[in-house]
C-alpha cells in the first residue's frame, strides 16, 4: 500500500513538474510568473486531440506537429499580449497572464464545449505487476520524458547560442541589449519553448485525464506550487518539487484524509515559504 501510493505520487508528480518547468523558464527570462501555463498545457492537449484523433495523423507525427502548433499559438500570445507590456511593471504583467489564462480557457470552452473528450492510450494503460506493485506504462513515460526534458533544456540553454542569449537576457536585459543580443527574439524564444513544454505536459495528461477546456484550472496552480517549491529558478528543482508534491498528495490522502488532499499540497507550500523561502533548490533570495 505505502509503496503503491509512492509510485502513484511519483507519476502525477512528474506531470506537475513539467508544468512547473514552464513557470521557471518564463520566470527566469521575464521576471514574472505566467499564470496561463496551465492553459498552455490545455492547448497542447487539444492540439494533439485535433491532429491525432480528428485528422487521424499517426501519433509519432502528430506529437511533433501538436508541439509546433502549440508553440505557434504561444508565439502569437506573446506578440499580441505580452510584448506590448515589455516596459510595464511586473504587477501588470502578472495580471495580464491571469487574464490570458481566463480568456484561453473560455475561448476553448466556446469552441469545443465544456464536456471532456476521450483520448486513446498511447503508452498503454494496462498495468503490469512487479512483485505486489502495479505499474502503469504511461506513468513511466511521464517520468522519463519529464527528466529527459530537463536534461535537454539544460543542454540547450548552456550549449547553444540561442540558449546562451536567452540566459543572458534573463540575467540582465540591458546588458544583453548592449552586447548586441536580440532581446526580443530571446523573449519570444522563451515563450515558444515554455509553450512547447506545456504542450508536452498536456499531451501526457490527455490519455489519463481526458481533454477538456478546464484542465488548466487544476494543473496551473499545482505547477505554480511546484515551481515555488523548487526555488523558481531551477528546472531540476521544479521537477523534484513536482515529485515531492505528488508524493505528499498521495500519502496525505492515504494517511491523513482525502478530504484535505489539495489543502495538504498548499500547506506544504506555505511551510516552505515560511522556513525556506528560496525553495528546495534555490540558492539566492
Amino acid at each position: 500500500m505505502f509503496q503503491q501510493q509512492l509510485i502513484q505520487g511519483l507519476a502525477i508528480g512528474s506531470v506537475y513538474g513539467l508544468i512547473g518547468i514552464g513557470y521557471v523558464l518564463i520566470w527566469n527570462a521575464w521576471g514574472v510568473l505566467n499564470f496561463a501555463q496551465g492553459e498552455i498545457a490545455m492547448i497542447g492537449a487539444f492540439s494533439v486531440l485535433m491532429i491525432h484523433v480528428w485528422l487521424g495523423i499517426p501519433i509519432l507525427l502528430a506529437f511533433p506537429l501538436a508541439i509546433l502548433l502549440s508553440m505557434a499559438i504561444g508565439y502569437f500570445i506573446e506578440i499580441t499580449s505580452f510584448r506590448p507590456l515589455v516596459k510595464a511593471d511586473n504587477t501588470r504583467k502578472l495580471i495580464a497572464t491571469i487574464g490570458i489564462g481566463i480568456f484561453l480557457r473560455n475561448l476553448y470552452r466556446v469552441i469545443f464545449g465544456a464536456d471532456p473528450y476521450p483520448f486513446p492510450t498511447i503508452f498503454g494503460d494496462t498495468p503490469f505487476q512487479v512483485g505486489k506493485l502495479l505499474i502503469i506504462p504511461q506513468n513511466i513515460w511521464s517520468l522519463a520524458i519529464g527528466f529527459g526534458l530537463v536534461v535537454l533544456l539544460g543542454l540547450f540553454l548552456k550549449g547553444t547560442t540561442m540558449g546562451k542569449s536567452m540566459r543572458a537576457t534573463a540575467q540582465d536585459r540591458e546588458a544583453a541589449l548592449l552586447m548586441g543580443i536580440n532581446v526580443k527574439g530571446s523573449l519570444s524564444m522563451t515563450f515558444i519553448l515554455a509553450s512547447g513544454l506545456g504542450a508536452i505536459a498536456g499531451m501526457l495528461m490527455a490519455p489519463m485525464y481526458f481533454v477538456m477546456a478546464d484542465m488548466g484550472v487544476m494543473m496551473g496552480p499545482k505547477g505554480f506550487a511546484v515551481a515555488v517549491l523548487g526555488g523558481l529558478e531551477s528546472m531540476t528543482g521544479a521537477m523534484i518539487g513536482g515529485i515531492v508534491l505528488g508524493i505528499l498528495e498521495s500519502l496525505g490522502a492515504a494517511y491523513i484524509s482525502s478530504a484535505y488532499q489539495s489543502a495538504i499540497a498548499f500547506f506544504v507550500l506555505f511551510i516552505v515559504l515560511v522556513f525556506k523561502p528560496s525553495g528546495i533548490m534555490g540558492s539566492k533570495m
Binding site: 494496462t126 498528495e249 492515504a254
Partner: protein
Amino acid sequence: MLKRSFALAVVLVMIVSLFAGCSQKPAEGTAEPIKIGTVGPLSGGAAMVGDTQVKGIQLAIDQFNEAGGIHGRELVLIQEDDEQNPAKSVSAMNKLVHNDNVIAVIGTVNSSATLANMEVTKEAEVPQITAISSNPKITLAGNPWIFRLQASDTHQCEAIVNYALDELGLERIAIMYQSDDYGTGGKDVAVELLQARGIEPVAVEAYDPNAKDMTAQLLKVKEGNPQALIMWTMYQQGALIARQARQMGLSDVVLMGGGGLTNAKLYELAGDAVVGLLNSQTFFPDKENASPVAKEFIEAYEEKFGMLPDSNAAMSYDSMLILGEAMKAAGPDLDNVAIRDAIAATTNFPGATGVINIDENGDANRDMLIIGVTGDGGYEVVWQPE
C-alpha cells in the same frame, strides 16, 4: 417598373394579412390565454438541458390545448433564458412574474439558480415547480410556493442504497464523493442510510471537484475490499474513477451512483470500465417495459420532436401535467393559493416518471428506476417498481 409593382403588391399583401391576423384573434377565442412561464438555460453550457425542459413542457401544453384548453382557455408558454446564472435567473423570473403576469412557473435547471429565483415567486405568491434541480435545500427552505418533480439527492441516494442492500444483498460498500455541496450531500445521506441498516462503509473518500488523479483514494478503497463503490459525482469524474479503479485492479467491484452519472459521454470517456455501472433514475425511454402513461409520452415526444425523451424531458412534462391538473382543480378564476394547494395535494398521480405523490416539503416521491450501462454503451432498465 415590373419589379417595383411586384414589390408593392407583396407589401400590400403583407399589410392586409397583418390586419387579417389582428381581426381573427379576438373572434376565435373569447377568453384570454393562460400564461405559463418557464426559466431555463437556453444558451451556454447547459443549453441542451434547457431545450429539453421546454420540449417536455410544450408537449404537455399542446396536449392540454388539443383537449380544449383549461377552463376553455388556451395555454401559452413564455420562455426566459437564465444561462445557469443565479443573478440572470432572478431577472428572468422578475420579468415573467411582474411583466408577463404568468399564472405559474416551471424551472429552472441549475440548483443555485433555483435557490435564487424561488425568492421572487415566493414574494409574489406565484406557484413554481422545478422539474430538474436536485439540491435538497430547495424544498427544505420552508417556502410553500416551490415544488419539485426531480428526485432530490436524498431520494436518489435512498434508491441506489436500497437496491444494493435489498436486491443485490451487498454488505461491504465503499463511498467516494466530490468535496462540494452535491457530493458531500449525497455522501451524508448514503452513510446515514447504511448506518441505519447496521452497515459501516469500508471506506469514505473525498476528492476535489477538479481532481483528475483518484488513485490515492482508490488504493484506500481497495484496502477495504468492497463489493460495491457508491460514487456521488457527475459523469466526467465518474468516468475517471471507473477507469482508474479498473487499472488499480478493482475489477469485480460494482460501481453505483445517482442520476448525475447518466450520460452517453460516460461510456465514450471510460469505455468498458463503466459497463455494468448502476444508477438511480426517474425515467428511462424503454417503450417495451414502460408504464402505459410513459409509453404514450415516449411515442408523442418522438413523433413531435423526432428523438427519444430523456429524464429531464419526462420530468418537465410531468411538471406541466401536474400544474395543469391543479389549475383545473382550482376553478376558473385560477386563484394562486388554490393552485398551490392543489399541487401540494397531488397523490398517486400517474406521470411519465412513475406514480407521483407530493410530500409535505413539496418533493415528488416515487419509486425510482435502477438503470445500468450495457456492453454497447447504451442503458437498460435493471430494476423497476411493480
